[in-house]
């Protein structure tokens, strides 16, 4: 875990509200694992005050990549950064996805909704390196919300897309697409990252199908490295339910640990 205040932005790709940044950050890149994240300083003033958590979309050699969607002021400011500028990063943070030896030669479902697709590219690469066969599910509201589709496909992944409005791929929620595929094949494991309703629906499916899974959760973060106790979610571990830190004990939790709360405020 290091602070890199000199991570040079070497490439920017964008599609509407979505941005893919390539950054030079050798030290963070050398330590990174799929499912981990960065805390990124978005402003030089006190507004917005806090860093923003963004997943590692990829790490290779000296380079990091992040993929994000403009959600508010912080990500808007981030999106304005230009090639050649330096970013102030803290990372890699959190515990990543666990890729197990027994996945070898098995199909693994990786389900991403919207910006939740971000960490799955890196995860897919790692799965492939471990000899597994990742199947990437990519859901969006509409065709324009699937900017990474081409990138994932050209990387050689099997990619199944869905759109709520039917403008591309399977018409309907990505969770229904997963259900459909489960009728046809039986993966060894499922990874998921996306908005709460998608995650809750997927959790149901996995439980019903007795499909082991890991979910990457989001939470508003104060620090990202365990100092503030601000990011907690209720987790069942060692026979107890307690508030664990998403930033340190997560953001990836195994499905059976997650205690789905009545909808939180805010």
């Amino acid at each position: 875990m290091v602070i890199d205040r000199q991570a040079r932005l070497v490439e920017v790709e964008s599609w509407g509200d979505y941005f893919l940044f390539t950054l030079d950050s050798p030290e963070i890149a050398s330590q990174a694992r799929p499912g981990q994240f960065l805390m990124i300083r978005v402003s030089e003033t006190t507004q917005p005050l806090l860093r923003r958590p963004i997943s590692l979309h990829n790490a290779e050699g000296n380079r990091l990549q992040i993929f994000f969607q403009v959600a508010g002021e912080g990500t808007r400011l981030l999106s304005l950064k230009k090639t050649g500028q330096f970013l102030d990063l803290l990372g890699p943070l959190g515990k990543g996805f666990n890729v197990r030896p027994e996945f070898r030669e098995r199909e693994i479902f990786c389900v991403g909704g919207g910006r939740g697709i971000a960490p799955l590219y890196y995860l897919g690469r790692e799965l492939r390196a471990a000899g597994a066969q990742p199947v990437i599910f990519y859901g969006g509201r509409s065709e324009g919300d699937l900017p990474l589709r081409y990138r994932l496909e050209t990387a050689g992944f099997e990619v199944l897309v869905s759109t709520d409005d039917g403008s591309a791929g399977f018409p309907g929620f990505v969770t229904s697409l997963v259900e459909e595929e489960l009728k046809k094949r039986r993966p060894a494991f499922l990874y998921a990252c996306g908005p709460d309703p998608m995650m809750e629906k997927l959790a149901e499916t996995c439980r019903r199908e007795k499909l082991p899974a890991e979910f990457s959760l989001e939470s508003i973060m104060g620090c990202g490295f365990g100092a503030c106790w601000g990011c907690v979610k209720k987790i069942r571990r060692d026979g107890q339910e307690k508030y664990l830190k998403v930033c340190q004990d997560g953001p990836v939790f195994s499905l059976e640990e997650i205690v789905w709360q009545e909808r939180e405020h805010g």
């Binding site: 005050l49 803290l90 939470s219 907690v232 508030y243 405020h265 805010g266």
Partner: protein, 303 residues
């Protein structure tokens, strides 16, 4: 070479910068970023007698130049702290201060007593000012009488030096400070967070699971500075100032207003090495201004 040390009477610090309670974990979280011995000291997260679950999430909301939190003092309790964490901290050559909490007045005394039996603690900070654990954000530091009683009880059961931490949610901060002084506190620290709120328009519900929370960060600095100024003029014991300190310049304002030392809170989240940067900034500023001892800055404001 600037002499950065400050002497609080009951405690000598190698520099006037302490990390504030609740923003520095149990200290160990910051080891990856720098050597903790470079700090004047740090205050660990508030401890009750028993482990505490803390408040329902969401627990954080960002506001303009500020942060509202309603952590609710989640923590491992004083026993586990002394067993698991303190041994790792006790050897450090820096002041380890423990933030003491209580549901009611007696619990403060019991936590303090328990801690008093352990080595490696430089002082206790009495957290009678957390707005996140009682109904409507109330706390003992909102009443001079309750403050006096609590300080007195704690003083009776421990010989560890006591820093009493005040709440800004009061009409007259000096009255509370004087009550704490009268009851025998060795120092006063302020401010804790300002009771605050935010609403989510879409759900029409409070953004915090606990409805109310405490506001910290640069937004509150001007209020904190005013209160430190008022208290430093009213009491004789040393004052430790905090509230929105993000830079050496901020720290210097508090010192000029009368603070003998400062605490850095929310800044630790934004820059994990914030305390270190502030210590270096103090040194640079003092050099540039020909100041030999940083403690000369304390109370040097001219009216």
């Amino acid at each position: 070479m600037v002499d950065l040390s400050v002497d609080l009477g009951f405690l000598k610090l190698k520099n006037p910068v302490l990390a504030a309670s609740g923003t520095f974990g149990y200290g160990l979280e910051f080891k990856p970023f720098y050597d903790l011995e470079l700090l004047g000291g740090f205050v660990v997260k508030g401890l009750y007698l028993k482990p505490r679950e803390g408040n329902r999430p969401p627990r954080l909301v960002e506001t303009p130049s500020g942060l509202i939190n309603s952590i609710g003092l989640q923590g491992i309790g004083v026993e586990a702290f002394c067993r698991e964490i303190l041994p790792e901290l006790a050897g450090l050559k820096t002041a380890v201060i423990v933030n003491v909490c209580g549901e009611e007045e007696d619990e403060y005394a019991r936590v303090a007593e328990y801690l008093g039996r352990h080595r490696g603690i430089a002082a206790l900070e009495l957290n009678i000012s957390c707005p996140n654990v009682r109904e409507g954000g109330r706390c003992p530091a909102q009443s001079p009488e309750a403050t006096h009683r609590t300080v007195k009880k704690v003083k009776q059961v421990t010989s560890l030096p006591l820093i009493t931490k005040l709440s800004p949610n009061v009409t007259d901060i000096t009255a509370v400070a004087l009550a704490a002084e009268e009851a025998g506190t060795e120092a006063i620290s302020l401010i804790n967070t300002l009771l605050a709120m935010a609403i989510d328009l879409e759900t029409r519900r409070p953004k915090l699971g606990n409805v109310l929370g405490g506001l910290s960060g640069p937004a509150i600095k001007p209020i904190a500075l005013r209160m430190v100024f008022q208290v430093a003029r009213a009491v004789k014991v040393p004052v430790i100032g905090m509230g929105g300190i993000f830079s050496a310049e901020d720290a210097l304002e508090f010192m000029m207003a009368g603070a003998a030392a400062v605490q850095v809170g929310t800044a630790n989240f934004v820059d994990p090495d914030a305390c270190l940067k502030i210590i270096r900034g103090l040194e640079t500023w003092a050099e540039k201004h020909g100041i030999k001892k940083i403690s000369e800055v304390t109370g040097s404001l001219q009216l």
